[in-house]
Every structure is written in structure tokens, then in C-alpha cells.
């Protein structure tokens, strides 16, 4: 599995990468909205999971979801936010900051359940 982590706080991003790697998931980090959009432009089809922080230093993380949709990339996404806002129409899983590892793991599990089935050869 491969994940995109869109998080502008490097320490949080680093911790999440380690948590994902522990589960055998390769993670690519985008530290900004712009970096995330660049990654999607390069390859939007190779991600099985995305973690997107809603509040990024250069804009809204929701823009990343919009770009995913525009490119037809149906990536199960965890939206992370520290604000009270109704995001449940935007993504499969909403994760409220601050969160514990157990909550993050549960969110990843929920995304894994809703991921498209792997193609059978």
C-alpha cells in the first residue's frame, strides 16, 4: 500500500509516516497544499490512502480532495482537523486533532475497508 500524507507540521508528518510504515504502508509526505497538488499532478493513481490536514500553511487541504476528484482518483481519505467544522460530507473519515495513535489506526483501518478491491489477476 502507498499513502500520501499532507501535513504542514513536520513533526506530525514524521510521526504519521512511522505509524504507517509500521503497518507496511509506504508514505509520501507533502508539506503543503502546493506540494500535494504537484504530487497528484505527477501521479494521482498510485495512492491507496491519503491523510490530509485541512488547515495548511498555504491553503485549505480540501483543495487537495477537489483535485483528487477532478483527476478521478478515488483515494480513501482521512481528513484531519483541529476545528469544529462539518467535514463529514467531504471525506470518508474525519480525524479530530489532537488524536491518539489508536484513533489514527482506526481511521486507517476504516479507509482500508472502503478501499477498492484489488484487481484479481
Amino acid at each position: 500500500m502507498r499513502a500520501m500524507v499532507v501535513e504542514d507540521e513536520p513533526l506530525i508528518a514524521g510521526l504519521l509516516v512511522r505509524l504507517l510504515e509500521r503497518r507496511g504502508i509506504d508514505a509520501v509526505v507533502a508539506r503543503s497544499r502546493a506540494e500535494a497538488l504537484t504530487l497528484l499532478a505527477l501521479d494521482s493513481r498510485s495512492y491507496d490512502l491519503a491523510y490530509v490536514d485541512v488547515c495548511l500553511s498555504d491553503g485549505r487541504g480540501l483543495d487537495v480532495l477537489v483535485e483528487m476528484r477532478r483527476r478521478g482518483a478515488d483515494i480513501p481519505t482521512i481528513l484531519a482537523t483541529g476545528q469544529v467544522e462539518d467535514l463529514q460530507a467531504e471525506a470518508r473519515v474525519v480525524l479530530r486533532k489532537p488524536f491518539q495513535i489508536a484513533a489514527f489506526d482506526a481511521a486507517v483501518d476504516a479507509c482500508a475497508k472502503c478501499a477498492p478491491a484489488e484487481a484479481v489477476p
Partner: protein, 163 residues
């Protein structure tokens, strides 16, 4: 794929210990807005009473005041009483060893607490797992985070409002 609205969260419990009421309320507001359950204390004595009386906190924000270094005994006592509680040191700008600098934004407070809790959770993992995967942040002792060479202070920006 979009819009089914599953939310994963256990409400985080945080205690804010700060002598300045505005700072206290600012942190409380930011954390409550994020959905956390927040208690506040104006001093170490009240904080200790709350720590003993209340259910364990996920995190405690403690003011670092060089003139009145209550954070040191309080930190030690927190570690003894509830070792699973993450401690976030709050201090004015240009203070070394702090995790969160004042004045701070709501985003900074929530990020600082998130980092502290994730680090705490990682520290509770089996040692073999730490040894395999957690170079740097994960292998530090919680106490180390309070020194100048802490991973927080060293890698980065302590959290504060941009100028």
C-alpha cells in the same frame, strides 16, 4: 468514496496550567474548539489537586517561568502520578526547551498537543518496536524533551504565531 462521514475520535482531555488568564483561556478555547475536554489551573498547586482528583489527562500544558520554575516539580510529579500523560511546556518566545511559544495560534496549540500525545503513545510501545523504527523522536525519553536539545526545540519551530 466521499461523504459517508465516519469520524474517529476519543475526546482528548487536557489540563492547561498557566498564570496568565488570557493565555489560559486562549489555549482552552483552541482546544475546546477542536473537541477536547479542557480544564484550567492558574498555578501548580491547583493543577496538582486537579491531577489527583480528575481522571488521567492525555496532556498537560505547563507554563515555563524562569523566575518561578514550577514546571520542574510539577513535571516530575505528573510523570510519577500519571506517566502516560504528555507534558507540553509553554513559554514566551526565545525560550529554549519549550514546545509551545506564546503568543500562539489555535492551530499551534492543537499541533503541539497532537505531537505530544503521539510521542507519548509511541513511547508506550514495546521497546523492540521503538528500537526498530523510532530513531530520533521515539527513542528519546519524555524527560529529554524538556531540554535544549529536545527534538522539538531542535527540529524546529516551536509552535507560535507567525510574526
Amino acid at each position: 468514496m466521499f461523504g459517508t462521514g465516519e469520524e474517529h475520535r476519543r475526546r482528548t482531555r487536557v489540563l492547561v496550567v498557566h498564570t496568565d488568564e488570557a493565555t489560559r483561556n486562549s489555549a482552552r478555547c483552541a482546544l475546546e474548539t477542536s473537541g477536547a475536554v479542557v480544564d484550567v489551573a492558574p498555578c501548580a498547586r491547583v493543577a496538582w489537586a486537579m491531577l489527583v482528583a480528575a481522571a488521567p489527562y492525555d496532556a498537560v500544558l505547563v507554563e515555563l517561568d524562569a523566575a518561578h520554575p514550577v514546571h520542574i516539580p510539577l513535571q516530575t510529579r505528573i510523570e510519577a502520578l500519571t506517566p502516560d500523560t504528555a507534558v507540553v511546556i509553554v513559554a514566551p518566545a526565545a525560550t529554549s526547551g519549550a514546545h509551545l511559544l506564546t503568543p500562539f495560534t489555535p492551530h499551534a496549540v492543537v499541533s503541539a498537543v497532537t505531537i505530544a500525545i503521539l510521542e507519548r503513545d509511541l513511547m508506550r510501545r514495546p521497546l523492540v518496536e521503538l528500537a526498530m523504527g523510532l530513531a530520533g523522536i521515539g527513542t528519546r525519553s519524555p524527560t529529554a524533551a524538556f531540554h535544549v536539545d529536545s527534538p522539538w526545540a531542535g527540529s524546529a519551530r516551536p509552535h507560535r504565531e507567525a510574526a
